[in-house]
Structures are given as structure tokens and as C-alpha cells.
């Protein structure tokens, strides 16, 4: 029991600065450093990485906080990404616990699917709720996903390094 508490504390101490660093990068540096007019999404990829290495519970908890910070970086209420990334963290964690092999190819496929799903959700919600043209929103989503994937390698290796520092075992 005490050992589990200690392990949870260690995880929180290691992952919290990682979350904050990615949030600061996403909401300050990369809001100015655009590519093809788009800004990248770093936090969702980190969710894929943590879920892949730590499983459904940790993936879900990390997704919850990453989602809240992503919503904050979007200057919007903590709803859309908070829900999306929590669910994605849990779902990718389940895949990691069952079928996915812990390696870069799995991470890359997970990240691509995650980013495309987020883009599709954003684009469709704007089409349905605000009457935005699908061609425009889809193009933005695609460019956003491509730009984000440039950071797949550093996010993967940092996530893997942090998870190795925590030691073996899954679950908060």
C-alpha cells in the first residue's frame, strides 16, 4: 500500500513537469512558430506515449490533465479536449495492455490516428455547429496533424525515458 502511494507520487512528480513543459511550448513557442499557417498539437501525442508505456489507468489520468491544459491553451472551457484526451488515453492504454507492442511504430500509428481523430472532431463540430465549409476545416486539420507529427520522435523518446525512470509496472 505504502509502496503504491510512493510510486504514484514519483509518477506525479515526473509527469507533472513534462505536462507543464509541453503546455508552455504548445501555448507560447509554437503559437508563433507556425508551419503552413498551422500550430502543432504536442500534448495529445504525449498522451499516446504515456498510454503506450504505462497503460489504461495512467494513460487516462495523463489524458485528463493533458486535455485540460490543451483546452486552456485554446482559450476555451475545459470540456472538448479534456473529454477527448481522457478517452483516448484510456483507449490507447487498453490497446497497449492487450495488442500493441511498446515501440515507435505503435506510437506513431497511435499518434497519427489520435491526431486525425481530433482533427476530424474539430472539423465536423465546426461544420455542424457553425456551418463551416468542410474542405477548409479538413485542410486545416490535415496540416495541423502533419505539423504535429514532426515532433513524434522527441515526444516518443522523452515519454519512453520518463516511463523507464519510473521503473517497471503499470497503474497509478
Amino acid at each position: 500500500m505504502a509502496r503504491n502511494k510512493h510510486r504514484t507520487l514519483v509518477k506525479a512528480l515526473i509527469l507533472a513537469p513534462y505536462l507543464i513543459l509541453l503546455y508552455i511550448l504548445q501555448s507560447t513557442v509554437f503559437t508563433r512558430l507556425t508551419l503552413m499557417g498551422e500550430k502543432p498539437l504536442l500534448l495529445p501525442m504525449a498522451v499516446a506515449g504515456i498510454a503506450l508505456f504505462l497503460g489504461r489507468v495512467d494513460g487516462g489520468v495523463f489524458g485528463l490533465f493533458a486535455g485540460m491544459l490543451t483546452d486552456l491553451s485554446y482559450n476555451q472551457a475545459t470540456v472538448q479536449f479534456t473529454l477527448l484526451l481522457t478517452l483516448m488515453g484510456i483507449f490507447l492504454g487498453i490497446l497497449s495492455d492487450t495488442v500493441l507492442v511498446q515501440g515507435f511504430p505503435s506510437f506513431l500509428v497511435s499518434s497519427v490516428l489520435e491526431l486525425l481523430l481530433i482533427s476530424a472532431f474539430q472539423a465536423l463540430s465546426l461544420v455542424v455547429l457553425r456551418g463551416a465549409p468542410l474542405s477548409v476545416t479538413a485542410a486545416v486539420g490535415l496540416r495541423q496533424s502533419v505539423y504535429s507529427l514532426i515532433f513524434a520522435i522527441p515526444v516518443y523518446y522523452v515519454s519512453r525515458f520518463l516511463c523507464r525512470v519510473m521503473g517497471p509496472g503499470k497503474g497509478f
Binding site: S27, T31, G37, L41, S73, Y74, N75, L126, V136
Partner: protein, 280 residues
Amino acid sequence: MKELISKKGLYIIAAAVAVAVIAAVSVALSGGNAGFASLLSEPFFKPVKSAMTSLVDSLEHTYNYMYRFDEIEAENQRLKARVAQLEQEYREYTEISEENERLHNLLGFAERHEDMSMEPVTVISWTASNYSSSFTISKGSSSGIELYDPVVDEYGFLVGQVTSVTSTSSVVTTLIDTTTSLGALFYENGETGVAAGDFELFKSSRLKVSYITDMDSAVIGATVVTSGSGGVYPAGLVIGTVSGIAVSSSGLDPYAVVEPSTDLTGLSHVYVITDFAVSE
């Protein structure tokens, strides 16, 4: 010793006296210039002396480098510190100069709009979203900022509107955001329309003016200002200039494409209009 003094010594003394006398006479005859000894020895000693001087200089330089290294390093540190101090002063001067310019520009705007109260704020961060255009500013309700307050730049060009407020910060949604919609009029002829953000124009940082009462007024280069209708924005704030005419996808509604006058990419300081006289 005795012989030296008595014989050779006398010769030597005599020779010395002779040399001295000749030297004195030659100096006296040449009007105070170098004596014959100098003239005779110069061709031989000059290159030797030059070489020796160079050698000594070189040795002295090496000596100084080796033994005064600490002193030189300390001096280098002092100079570096001084350079850093001067650079800091220059940065401060530049900041003050820029702030002065901004306030000067704002003063011109404020003099033209004495009915307005303005709160200067700093832009903290921009949204990470690719579908909206908003930024966070450094002040909130504790500084008198309220929801839907208009925001302008130092020239008085419209930037956007406050759409979220906390006690210490606020979110400003810019005029190109797709949720923005406000009454506009063409400055030159007073024709009215509705300025709004558009998904297709968003990426090129432009907005559109539709529902124009007379499309002939929407000529390229025409200035678009706020109409003041609705009382949310003061009348007469410059939105931008017409850069093109287009038709909606349905092909039925023509609209003017407007380039904002404010430079949205370069905003660092903006001004929230906290109070103004409503002119309906």
C-alpha cells in the same frame, strides 16, 4: 698597479682625455649635435639596438602576458561587465523609446476620442487553436475590464473584443475570428454592412463585410470603420481597408474582403476601451 699608474695608466688617461677633448670639440663645432663617437658607432649599433629592442619588447610582452595574466583577465571581466551593463542600458532605452512611441501614438488617438477610457495591457499568449484567433491579456476585472469591451492598438485600429474575463487576465477574440460580427460602415460614403470573420478568409488574416446597402461603395481601398450600432463598439474605429470583392458560395451574396488595419501578428501591447460615449 704601480706601473699601471705610472706609465700605462697615464697613457690610458691621456687617451681618455684626448677622446673627451675631441668629442667636446666635435660637439662644439657641430653646434650641439651627436659627437664623433656616436656618428662612428651608429651604423654598427643601430641594427643591433633595433634587434635588441624588438627582442626586449617581445620578452616584455611575454612576461606581461605570463605574469600580468590575472590582471588582464580581471580587466577583461571588468570590460565584459561594462559591456553587459551598457547593453542592458541600451535595451532599457529601446524599451522606453518604444513605449514612448506607443504612448505618443495613443495620445493622438486619445485626443481625438476624449470620451473614451482606455486600459493599457500586454499580450501574454496566443491561442494554440488553428480554428480561432484570440489572445490572453495581462489584466482582468480588477483593472476595470469587462466582458465585450472593445480592444484597439496604439493607433486606435480595432483589434477585437474581450470575450472572457478573470480578475487578473482576459481573453481577447480578434476581429478575424469566425465568431466575430459587428456593424460596419464605409468611411467615404457612410454605406453600412456587417463585418464578420470567415472560415475561408481566416487563414489569410482577413474578414468580410456583407449585407452592404450599396455594393458600389465597396471599392478597393475604401476604409471600413465601426458603425457603433448596438453600442458594443464605439463608432468610427478603423477596421481595415477593402482589398477585394467576392461572392458567397451560393453565388447570391456579394461581399467585400477587408484587410485589417492592425497588424495582428505583431501585437505586444493593446488598449482595452473600458468606457465610451454611445452614439446611436
